[in-house]
């Protein structure tokens, strides 16, 4: 019992400290949790009133749907880079002379203490409030939900134990990003497709959902069984709830047996959580530089560096950034976030264009909108140019490369790669959506101006407010996002406003005349915008380089801070 108390104490400390850099951040998180709890309670009460008089069919659909959503979120969490469930060091615990039952207790503590411990009991309490038309039905909903959640908790820990080794590997992080991006794209585009098709054929979605394999998944998996049981109780058929509830309990028991077997394997050392999966070897060919990701990337790098006549140090920094973009999962995610958003939007309008319903409404306005969104989408990376260097900033700032050239390299990378790819996507969008040629050219010009403004602000803010974007704790660590805390979120918000205040009018100067029927004015005004943007970027680089000299020790200190 004393051992469990000690484990609980350490887990509580870890749960409170996780990712939080100071007391104010912990207080902020507590306020956030309380706020969401109150919000959920209010919503649940409102829903409860609504459902009380609703048809049983509606409740019968909502109950399993809500459990499906919870199930999906819960089972996806272990695969996300949040590490919510991984704060207890199980291998360290296995070294201690603790009996098996204490180890199981540690697993239970691990799964319950933390955000889970706040939200799961809350959700279980809210279920009867929402669905409890009568006290008996409320009690039944509560029992069903408790059984469902026990199963879900066991499954979560099972995933951790069974796949912990893979989850912690960097190769998994790489694979997850690719799979996530493809899955996300497929889900979104199929949703868009279904939406655009169902405008013409309303029964199509219903037909797909009621296909046999779908029906089995929906009915016989835990959320479906929970829904089935609740539905029976809600209709007053208590005996009808016995079968689904029984199946739910059987699944729970099977999961518990499987968990027991895995714990046993872990306990005797057959199973480990740490990553031993090595990242792929970087293939080199005889006499050639190691690959920096693709021949396209190398070609792009060559064009950028030779055009701008960069010094060897600056070229080295640009090359390093490019390699990092291909190899650091968090860098990729940050970058792909903004790119994928535009790709989804383009896909949306491509499908909407088929039945002319949405596209016609937006018409030519969408291209400037895409152009603006993709430029500003890079702001988070632009305002924290040293974020991906993290602790390795020491290497960069120990070098004798002039700080102006260093800032130049970072700026060139931002404009040349991030914004360059965005411009290519917008050109593609213009072609696919058959946009007006003059408008497309104006949009590209506006994007180039916007990119310069974003990078100019990014240079200055990067020197003043750097924060480490990613943490990878050695060989065993999974790449983790760093949020930068409340201060950065506030600064970022401010930066967004300021950048908009400068970039929007300068971009609008080029694009807006087109919508008043005079594209030529846009072309005439473009050089004015360009000159102003070039002055901004030049000034920002000089200013940032000077400040970098003054602040580099502070920057090293900020980026070298350990998170936990």
């Amino acid at each position: 019992m004393d051992q469990l108390k000690a484990i609980l104490r350490i887990k509580l400390k870890l749960a409170f400290r996780m990712g939080a850099k100071n007391t104010s951040e912990i207080i902020f998180r507590i306020i956030l949790v309380v706020f969401f709890a109150i919000l959920l309670l209010s919503l649940s009460t409102a829903l409860g009133f609504f459902f009380r008089n609703a048809e049983p069919d509606i409740r019968g659909h909502i109950f399993p749907a809500a459990h499906w959503i919870m199930c999906f979120i819960w089972l996806v969490i272990p695969f996300s880079p949040l590490g919510l469930n991984q704060s207890l060091h199980f291998e360290g615990l296995a070294l201690l002379p603790i009996p098996r039952r204490t180890f199981v207790g540690a697993l239970v503590i691990n799964s319950l203490v933390g955000l889970n411990g706040v939200f799961i009991p809350l959700i279980i309490v809210l279920i009867p409030i929402v669905f409890g038309r009568t006290p008996i039905i409320g009690l039944a909903a509560f029992i069903i939900s408790v059984i469902f959640w026990i199963g879900l908790l066991i499954t979560g820990q099972l995933i951790l134990l069974a796949f912990g080794r893979i989850l912690a590997s960097r190769r998994f992080a790489d694979i997850a990003i690719v799979v996530g991006a493809i899955a996300g794209f497929l889900i979104y585009t199929s949703r868009i497709f279904l939406y655009s098709e169902t405008i013409e054929n309303p029964d199509l979605a219903q037909k797909i959902v009621s296909l046999k394999p779908f029906a089995v998944i929906f009915d016989f998996f835990p959320p479906g069984l929970a829904g089935w049981a609740f539905n029976s109780v809600d209709r007053g058929d208590f005996t009808g709830a016995i079968l689904p509830l029984g199946l739910l309990v059987i699944q729970l028991v099977l999961l518990a047996i499987l968990a027991g077997k895995l714990i046993e394997k872990f306990f005797v050392g057959e199973l480990t959580l740490g990553s031993a999966v090595k990242s792929r070897e970087i293939v080199t060919k005889e006499g050639r530089e190691p690959s920096s990701g693709s021949s396209f990337a190398r070609g792009l790098l060559g064009i950028i560096t030779s055009t701008l006549g960069l010094c060897p140090g600056s070229i080295a920094i640009v090359a390093k950034e490019l390699r990092y973009l291909f190899r650091e999962p968090i860098y990729k995610v940050r970058f792909l976030n903004s790119v994928m958003m535009i790709v989804y939007l383009i896909a949306l309008f491509l499908f909407l264009g088929r039945n002319k319903s949405g596209f016609a409404t937006f018409g030519n306005y969408i291209l400037p909108l895409f152009a603006y969104l993709s430029v500003v989408g890079e702001l988070r990376l632009a305002v924290n140019k040293f974020g991906m260097d993290g602790q390795a900033i020491e290497c960069l700032l120990l070098s004798p490369v002039s700080r102006t050239k260093l800032m130049l390299a970072k700026t060139v990378f931002g404009i040349g790669v991030f914004q360059g790819i965005n411009i290519l996507i917008i050109i593609l969008a213009a072609v696919l959506l058959k946009m007006n040629f003059a408008l497309a050219v104006l949009c590209v010009l506006a994007m180039a101006v916007g990119a310069l403004v974003v990078e100019a602000w990014g240079n200055i803010l990067s020197v003043y407010f750097p924060y480490k974007m990613a943490t990878t704790s050695g060989r065993r660590g999974q790449a983790q996002f760093e949020t930068g805390g409340c201060t950065f979120q506030f600064i970022y918000l401010l930066a967004t406003f300021v950048t908009n205040a400068f970039a929007l009018p300068m971009m609008a100067l080029i694009v807006v005349p087109f919508f008043f029927g005079n594209a030529l004015i846009g072309f005439i005004l473009a050089p004015v915008s360009f000159l102003l943007a070039i002055w901004m970027i030049k000034y920002s680089m000089t200013f940032a380089a000077q400040k970098l000299v003054e602040r580099e020790k502070k920057i090293i200190e900020l980026l070298s801070r350990q998170t936990q």
């Binding site: 970087i282 602790q391 390795a392 700032l397």
Partner: protein, 283 residues
């Protein structure tokens, strides 16, 4: 401060040679060589804690200098200040003839650094990392590649040269950093606990290279806890304790006195409490 003589005290009563010119042009420093590292009045505070307390020190060119001290004595802090990674107050610091305050980039161009806890670009391979560092120091691509391959061979990293550093063991990471510190042929090498985690074969090779570097007038500012290693490699040592230099002398003097370096270290850093503390549960 340039040109003003700086008096070095060894706190032991042994005269070291008394004074030298901060530019290394004149003076009567015992080793009769211009100083590669000059520290005058260096103090570093972290809030209320004084990590380094007004230390002054000179290390002549081509010296294998051992910088010793117990845990938390201020060794790593001093090195981080000297290489320009953290701020501190000081009257004068000159490295390889360059003023740290007014010529920080010149200082950086002339030094190689290996810190106790090195932070590298983990997602590069060691080959890419060395090439990156070489280019950052302005080496031509061909020269960078040549030195990279030689250093990889020296450190026994050839087989792992195409793997990302993130997959390296501590020893391999240290070897990579050490190679990076040497790639641009620096005038002064700052090495903080360089041999921890490095296997004996690579360790022997590195020691040979270091001795060769010293013969070619490279100054090595070397911090370690392994007394035998310091005793064997270094030509002079200084002991820092509670942020102050308590001892600074050539190794030859220690050997001549018939004492070992460990004796001197324990005498200074042991604070006179050398009896082993009793553990109540061990009978």
């Amino acid at each position: 401060m340039n040109g003003e003589p700086v008096v070095i005290n060894d706190h032991t009563g042994d005269a070291l040679g008394d004074s030298y010119d901060a530019n290394g042009q004149t003076g009567a420093y015992r080793l009769k060589k211009p100083p590669a590292v000059v520290i005058d009045g260096l103090t570093k505070r972290f809030d209320d804690f004084t990590a380094v307390d007004n230390i002054s020190l000179a290390v002549p060119e081509g010296e294998f200098f051992g910088f010793l001290g117990p845990n938390g004595a201020g060794k790593s802090t001093t090195i981080k200040v000297l290489v320009g990674l953290i701020t501190a107050s000081y009257k004068n610091i000159r490295i390889a003839g360059c003023d740290l305050r007014s010529e920080p980039l010149k200082v950086k161009a002339n030094i190689g650094v290996m810190l106790e806890e090195p932070h590298l670009y983990d997602r590069l391979t060691s080959r890419e990392y060395l090439q990156f560092i070489g280019r950052m120091y302005g080496l031509a691509p061909g020269e960078t590649d040549l030195r990279t391959e030689e250093l990889l061979a020296l450190m026994d990293l050839e087989d792992a040269a195409n793997k990302m550093i993130i997959d390296y063991s501590t020893g391999m990471r240290k070897k990579t950093v050490l190679a990076a510190a040497m790639i641009h042929n620096p005038k002064v090498l700052f090495l903080d606990e360089p041999f921890g985690g490095i296997d004996p074969i690579a360790s022997r090779k590195i020691k040979d290279v270091m001795n060769r570097l010293v013969r070619h007038k490279v100054t090595i500012f070397f911090s370690s806890h392994v007394m035998e290693l310091v005793e064997k490699l270094c030509t002079s040592v200084a002991i820092i304790h509670h942020g102050q230099i308590h001892f600074h002398a050539p190794m030859s003097e220690i050997r001549a006195s018939g004492r070992t370096l460990e004796d001197v270290f324990v005498e200074i850093a042991g604070d006179g409490h050398m009896e082993t503390e009793e553990l109540s549960w061990i009978n």
